[in-house]
Amino acid sequence: MRFTLTLLLIALLGPGCVKDELEGLTYNPFDPAYDGPPVFSLETSYVDILTTPQGINRRLTQRMRMDRSLLLRNTTFVVQCVRLNDGTVIDLLSNSLEGDLFNLVTDFTQQGAEYCWELRLTNQGSIGARNNVCSTAD
């Protein structure tokens, strides 16, 4: 009798654990509701001063890092980069990235101004994890 009750309890409570596991489903970077560690981060940034017919171009290069270890499996994807200052959009295919790093360039920057990008992890036209990366053009 006691054995049967124990079995019954195990049978009923065991599957109940799955419910808790399904409570926090926001750890897949392709999930639009992703709220885990940032997928994109700033590796470094620097300014190149170029002389052009239009004048002196302070070119800001922001070297971004994508944390691939957060992806739950290897797959192809597109990184959509939206420059927040002017809304420019750049799409980068996953196979065009140099490992985890890629550069984003902004021309004619103002010294001391902050330049931000919204970096989006996308696939088949829909957006997953996203976060902003900013740096100052010194």
């Binding site: 019954l8 049978a11 009923l12 599957p15 109940g16 799955v18 419910k19 596991e21 399904l22 489903l25 897949n28 392709f30 999930d31 639009p32 509701a33 739950l72 499996r73 797959t75 994807f77 992890l121 996308t122 696939n123 088949q124 036209g125 829909s126 957006i127 997953g128």
Partner: protein, 264 residues
Amino acid sequence: MSPGGHVRMCSSMAMKRITGLACKAAFVLLMVTWSPGHMGICLMAQDTGTLRLLIDPGSDFQFVVDRKFRLQQREITLSAGPHHFSFWAPTRSIVDTTLTVIPERTTDFVLRLPYSAEYLEHRRVLDAFIQKRRWARTWPVMLNVAGITWGVISYDKYRKAHRQLETDLANYEDNVVPAEIAVLTNETIPEHKQDFRQARDMAVISASFTALSAGYTWWRFKRTGQWEKPVFDDRERIRFEGLAYLPGAQGGHWATAITIPLAR
């Protein structure tokens, strides 16, 4: 040894084994020790006959010859002429009759003892009791079987709902299309979680119901097992034997009957 035993011994042994002087000695001994009634029974002269009693029930009927000797055998040798017999068997009525013994012949007497009115009434009451107890026990068992069936079906649904959530979890982790993940997390998984909650609640309710019905079934069996079973009060036996012990639920009792022959 009963008088009937002497009669049988006298008729069979004397006729088949004991010859001459030995039979005469036995005959003289019986004459000395037993009543004149026996003397008549044991006479093996030309005015005796044999009755072969083919009575239903054949196993345990008894009879009283000439209102004096109670016997339990299938054949009897008596003096020729009419003899009074009272036949009886447990659960049957007493049948009184007079049989005429034909000299030097074996006559078959066939009789089916009718069931007594008390026994028929007892059977009716007993059948009603058994039927009532059977119903009292059947429906809790049916309830329990229904509970078990419900429990098994509910648990199966519960397991399927659980498996569905596991599939959803694997799908979430494996999926790389944000639009599909959005549908999965906003629509599919909440629906499946709702199904899972309902299946779990149903499994708990059905398991509780099954446990309760099992407890009730056990209690019902115990309770109905204490019901007093109708005991057969064999009035015909009292009439036949005069004094009888009647077993009952409270330990039984002795009963007797007095017959006053008003006709004389």
